[in-house]
C-alpha cells in the first residue's frame, strides 16, 4: 500500500486587517527597555529582562535537535506589536468588531452570552490581551486569571515570587530570548484548597506580519487546589516563517493538581515546504509539593518546525508527572518533541505516552529524558513511544535518554514503529468503509490513549483536526 496524504488547505488561513502598533525591527537593549516602558513595568522586571537579554547575546542557537532550522535573523523581526487600543476595554462593544469577527471565525466563545460552553477565555491577539471573560465568577472563589501584564500591575508580589523559577532565563537560547522580550501571556493563581470552577482557556493567535510572538504563561496552584488549563493555537497563512518562542511555567504545591492541554495547529507551510511557523517552546512544571500532580497533554498538528519538550521536575515526595502527546507531521514538517521527567522526591511517579504520526516527507522525532536522581527512592516511570509511518518518504525517530542513579527505581520504556496494518485496513474496508475513513479510524485508535486525557471539547477538536489533516488520503 502506498498511502500518500495530501495536505488539506489550512482551514484557519485568513488575515485580519487591524492597524497594529509596532516597534522598529531588530533587538537591542533599547527595544527591551521600550517593551518594558510600554507596559509600565516595575524596575525589577526591567532588570530581569535586561539580564536575560545580556545572557541571550552570549548564547548560540542550539543545534542538538534533529531539525534543519534555517538561519533566523533575529534583527529582522518585530518584537512588539499590539492592536491599537482605545484606553482600557470596559465592555465588549468597545472591542474592534473586526477582531470579534476573527474570534467568531475561530469559534472562540468570547461573548459573555456564549459562556454556556463553560470556558473562560483570555484571548491573546498577537501580543496584548484584549478581553477576559468569566473574570467575575473566578474572582468569587479567589482565582486570578488575567494577562501577565495585568498581573504584574495588580499582583506584582506573586509574579515576582514565581516568574523564572521553573524556567530560568539562563535555561536555553529561546528561554533567554523570551525572558528578554516577552510581550504578554496568561497568569493563573489558584488559592489554597480551591478547585477551579471552570476550565481555563487561552487562544493564541499570531497575527501581524513578521512578528515573533513571545508568550509567557505562569500558573501557580496553591496547596490542595486543582486547575485544568487549555491552550489552543491557530495562525493565518503566511509565506514568511514566523517565530514563536513561548515559555510556560507551572508550579504545583502540596496536593495540588495542574492539567495543561494544548492543541497546536499553526500554519505548517505549504505543500512544497515554504513558510510555516517555527515553534520553539519551553514548557516546564515544578511539582514542588507533596502529592502534587502535573500533566501535559498535547496534540501537535501544525508548525513547520516544532521544538518542544514539556517537562516535569518532581521535587515533592509522592508527586506525579504525566506527558501525553500526539504529534502529526506531513508535507515538509519537522517535529522534535518529547519530555523530560526529573525525579527528585521519594516515590515520585511519571508516565509518558507519545504517539507520532509522520506522513509524506516529514520528520517526526521523539526525544525524551527520564532522570532518577539519587534522592528519588522508590521512583517509578513508564514510557511508551509509538510511531506510525504513512508513505515511504517519512521519517520517525526516537531518542529516549534514561538516566538512573537510584537502585530502588523502576523504569520501563517501550517503543515501536510500524505502518497501518494491511489486515486492519482490509477488515474495515470489508465492512464498507472508504479507505480514507478507515485510515482516520485507525489513526484515531492509535491516538486514543492520548485523546482520552483531553477535556471533552478539546478531544472532539483534536479528533477533527487529525481527520482534517488526513483528508484526501490516497490509498
Amino acid at each position: 500500500m502506498s498511502t500518500d496524504i495530501l495536505n488539506n488547505d489550512y482551514k484557519y488561513g485568513f488575515f485580519t486587517d487591524i492597524e497594529t502598533e509596532e516597534f522598529p525591527k531588530g533587538l537591542n537593549e533599547n527595544i527591551v527597555r521600550m517593551i518594558s516602558a510600554k507596559k509600565a513595568e516595575p524596575e525589577w522586571l526591567l532588570d530581569y529582562r535586561l539580564k536575560a537579554f545580556r545572557h541571550w547575546q552570549k548564547l548560540e542557537h542550539p543545534k542538538w535537535a534533529k531539525l534543519v532550522v534555517p538561519d533566523i535573523d533575529y534583527q529582522d523581526l518585530y518584537y512588539y506589536s499590539a492592536p491599537k487600543k482605545k484606553n482600557a476595554v470596559a465592555s465588549l462593544d468597545e472591542i474592534d468588531p473586526e477582531l470579534l469577527a476573527t474570534f467568531a471565525k475561530l469559534g472562540i466563545p468570547l461573548n459573555e452570552q456564549k459562556r454556556i460552553s463553560g470556558v473562560a477565555v483570555d484571548a491573546v491577539f498577537d501580543s496584548v490581551s484584549v478581553a477576559t471573560t468569566h473574570k467575575e465568577e473566578l474572582e468569587k472563589v479567589g482565582v486570578i486569571f488575567c494577562s501577565i501584564s495585568d498581573a504584574v500591575k495588580e499582583r506584582p508580589e506573586l509574579v515576582k515570587k514565581y516568574l523564572g523559577t521553573v524556567v530560568p532565563y539562563s535555561d536555553n537560547f529561546y528561554a533567554a530570548l523570551n525572558a528578554a522580550v516577552f510581550s504578554d501571556g496568561s497568569f493563573v493563581y489558584i488559592p489554597k484548597g480551591v478547585k477551579c470552577p471552570l476550565d481555563l482557556s487561552t487562544y493564541f493567535r499570531i497575527n501581524a506580519k513578521e512578528t515573533g510572538q513571545f508568550e509567557r504563561t505562569l500558573i501557580v496552584a496553591e496547596e490542595g487546589s486543582y486547575v485544568n488549563y487549555l491552550e489552543g493555537c491557530t495562525a493565518p497563512q503566511r509565506d514568511e516563517n514566523q517565530l514563536h518562542a513561548a515559555i510556560v511555567e507551572l508550579i504545583a504545591h502540596d496536593n495540588a493538581e495542574i492539567k495543561y492541554s494544548t492543541v497546536q495547529n499553526w500554519y505548517a507551510g505549504d505543500k512544497s515546504g515554504i513558510g510555516g511557523i517555527y515553534n520553539f517552546v519551553t514548557k516546564r512544571g515544578n511539582c514542588v509539593g507533596v502529592n502534587s500532580k502535573i500533566s501535559w497533554t498535547q496534540v501537535e498538528a501544525g508548525s513547520a518546525i516544532t521544538w518542544k519538550y514539556p517537562s516535569c521536575n518532581l521535587i515533592g515526595d509522592h508527586s506525579e508527572g504525566a506527558f501525553y502527546s500526539v504529534a502529526l507531521t506531513n508535507n515538509f514538517m519537522q517535529a522534535d518533541t518529547g519530555t523530560k521527567m526529573v525525579h527528585i522526591g521519594k516515590n515520585t511517579k511519571s508516565t509518558i505516552i507519545s504517539k507520532g504520526i509522520s506522513a509524506e516527507q516529514s520528520e517526526n522525532n521523539y526525544r525524551g529524558l527520564v532522570k532518577i536522581m539519587p534522592s528519588a527512592t522508590g521512583a517509578r516511570n513508564y514510557s511508551q513511544c509509538d510511531s506510525m509511518l504513512i508513505g515511504n518518504r517519512a521519517q520517525a525517530n526516537t531518542f529516549p535518554y534514561i538516566d538512573v542513579k537510584n537502585n530502588s527505581a523502576v523504569v520501563e520504556h517501550e517503543a515501536s514503529t510500524s505502518k497501518i496494518s494491511e489486515e486492519q485496513l482490509f477488515y474495515l474496508q470489508s465492512r464498507g468503509l472508504s479507505e480514507e475513513k478507515c485510515i482516520s479510524m485507525i489513526v484515531n485508535g492509535f491516538c486514543k490513549d492520548v485523546f482520552k486525557e483531553l477535556p471533552l471539547e478539546f478531544a472532539v477538536e483534536a479528533v477533527k483536526l487529525i481527520e482534517m489533516k488526513l483528508e484526501n488520503s490516497i490509498g
Binding site: S387, N397, V411, E412, T417
Partner: protein, 421 residues
C-alpha cells in the same frame, strides 16, 4: 588535557611508524594515512554526543607496546579447544602457539582506508601484527575457535593494539570465542585498543562471543564491526566482566536482503567500574532482521551506559528489528544511562525497542528464602537467572558453558559483597 594526550599519542604513534616492522610499502602508506586521520579526528570528548557519558582521554596510556616478539610458551587455560586457537601476547600474534584447522587460513591484513572513528584509525596505524583470517567456502567447523589476547607485565602502561579481520566466505560456518585476559588482573594497568572485523559473504554463519576479562584497572576500547551479505547470519555476544573503563563499539551493517544479525550482551560491574556500550545496527537493505538483548548488572558505585541505535534507511522495506535493554541496579550508588534509539526512514517495517531498569524483586527473594536459602544465596541465584537470559543466546554449547562458568566465578567473588543486602 585532552590535547596533551592527543599530542603524545600522535608523537608516539609517529615514532612507531618509523620503526621497521616488516610491512609492505603500500601497507605502510595506508598506516600513515590512518595516522593522519587520527591526527585530524582527535580523541572524542564528552561534547561529542556519542561519548556523552565517558571521558576517555584521561584513562588512556600514552605509550605503545612496540616489541614484536612474543615470549609466552604455554597454552593459556582459557582455550576451549586446542584444535583451533589464535594467540596474541600483548597485541602481538604468537605464531608458535596458534593452531588452525583445515579450511581456515591466516594471512596478512590488506590495506584499509575507511575508519569508523579515531580509535579505529589509531589502531590501524599502530597494530603491530594485523591479521586476516579467512574461512574458506563451504567450511563448516563444529568446534569453537578461541582467539586469546593475553597481556602480561611487559605491557604495563602501554597501549596494545590487536587487529583482526575475519572473512567468512560463502556457506561457511564457525563459532569464535575472543577473550581478553591479563595474567595479573589485580595489578596491571594498560590500555587495549582492539578492532575485530567481520565480513560475511552469502549464507555464511558466524557466531562471535567476546569476553572482556581484562585487568581491573585497565582501559579497554573495543570495536566489533561486521558487514553481512545476503542470507548470512552474524551472531554476537559481548560479555563484559568489568574494569576501570571500557568502551565497546559494536557496528553491524546488514547490506543485502535476508541478512540477519543478533547483537547480545551482558555486563556485570562493581566498585567504580565504568562500561559504555555503543551499538549501531544499520539496515541498508529490505528484508533484513536484527535482534538485540543487552543486560546490565550494576553493583557498588559502578556506571553503565547502553546506547543502541537502529537505523533503517530509506526504502529498506520489510525489515524487522527488536531491541531490549534490561538493567539491574544492586546498590544505591550504581548508575545506569540507557539510550535506545530508533531511526526509521522506511514505512513498511516492524521495529520495537524496550528498556527497563529495576532491582531484584523482594517477592522472588522471599520465595527462595522461604524454601530455606539464605538471603545472599537467594539474591545470587536471582542475579544468575537474570544473566542466564543473555548467556543462553550463545549457540555453541562449549562457549556458553565457558561463559557461564567464568560469569559465576567472577560474580561470586566480587560483585555480591557490594550489594546493599
Amino acid at each position: 588535557m585532552e590535547n596533551i594526550i592527543h599530542n603524545e599519542l600522535i608523537k608516539n604513534s609517529a615514532a612507531l611508524l618509523k620503526k621497521p616492522l616488516g610491512f609492505s610499502p603500500s601497507y605502510q602508506q595506508a598506516m600513515l594515512k590512518a595516522h593522519e586521520i587520527f591526527k585530524n579526528l582527535g580523541i572524542p570528548s564528552r561534547k561529542n554526543e556519542d561519548w556523552k557519558y565517558t571521558s576517555i582521554e584521561k584513562n588512556l596510556s600514552i605509550r605503545f607496546f612496540e616489541d614484536n616478539v612474543s615470549i609466552v610458551s604455554d597454552v593459556p587455560k582459557s582455550v576451549i579447544d586446542q584444535r583451533g586457537m589464535i594467540i596474541f601476547n600483548n597485541g602481538v600474534f604468537n605464531k608458535f602457539l596458534s593452531v588452525l584447522p583445515e579450511g581456515l587460513e591466516l594471512t596478512a591484513l590488506i590495506n584499509e582506508d575507511i575508519f569508523l572513528d579515531s580509535f579505529d584509525a589509531l589502531n590501524f596505524s599502530t597494530a603491530i601484527s594485523p591479521l586476516s583470517l579467512k574461512i574458506k567456502k563451504n567450511t563448516v567447523i563444529d568446534f569453537p575457535i578461541t582467539i586469546i589476547h593475553l597481556v602480561d607485565d611487559v605491557a604495563v602502561n602501554k597501549i596494545i593494539c590487536p587487529r583482526i579481520m575475519i572473512l567468512a566466505e560463502e556457506n561457511s560456518k564457525l563459532s569464535i570465542m575472543e577473550i581478553f585476559e591479563c595474567n595479573k588482573p589485580e595489578l596491571l594497568q594498560y590500555t587495549t585498543n582492539a578492532v575485530t572485523q567481520f565480513s560475511l559473504k552469502a549464507n555464511a554463519h558466524i557466531e562471535h562471543v567476546k569476553i572482556q576479562n581484562e585487568a581491573r584497572s585497565a582501559t579497554h576500547i573495543g570495536l566489533t564491526n561486521a558487514n553481512v551479505c545476503a542470507g548470512a547470519k552474524f551472531k554476537s555476544l559481548t560479555l563484559d566482566l568489568g574494569l576501570k573503563m571500557a568502551r565497546n563499539n559494536i557496528n553491524v551493517s546488514l547490506n543485502e536482503p535476508n541478512a540477519q544479525t543478533s547483537v547480545h550482551g551482558l555486563f556485570a560491574l562493581k566498585n567504580t567500574e565504568h562500561t559504555d556500550v555503543f551499538s549501531v545496527i544499520k539496515h541498508f537493505a529490505g528484508h533484513t532482521f536484527s535482534d538485540q538483548l543487552f543486560k546490565g548488572i550494576l553493583a557498588g558505585e559502578s556506571h553503565g551506559i547502553f546506547t543502541g541505535k537502529i537505523i533503517i534507511v530509506k526504502d529498506a522495506q520489510l525489515c524487522t528489528s527488536s531491541q531490549l535493554n534490561k538493567n539491574l541496579l544492586l546498590s544505591k550508588k550504581a548508575h545506569i544511562d540507557t539510550r535506545p534509539q530508533l531511526l526509521v526512514h522506511a514505512d513498511d517495517v516492524k521495529c520495537s525497542h524496550g528498556a527497563t531498569i529495576g532491582q531484584l524483586s523482594d517477592e522472588e527473594a522471599f520465595y527462595l528464602e522461604s524454601r530455606g536459602l539464605p538471603k545472599e544465596k537467594a539474591k545470587q541465584m536471582l542475579c544468575h537467572g537474570f544473566a542466564t537470559d543473555a548467556l543462553d543466546k550463545i549457540e555453541n554449547d562449549k562457549i556458553r558453558q565457558f561463559c557461564e562458568k567464568i560469569f559465576v566465578t567472577h560474580f561470586k567473588v566480587t560483585a555480591l559483597d557490594q550489594q546493599d543486602l
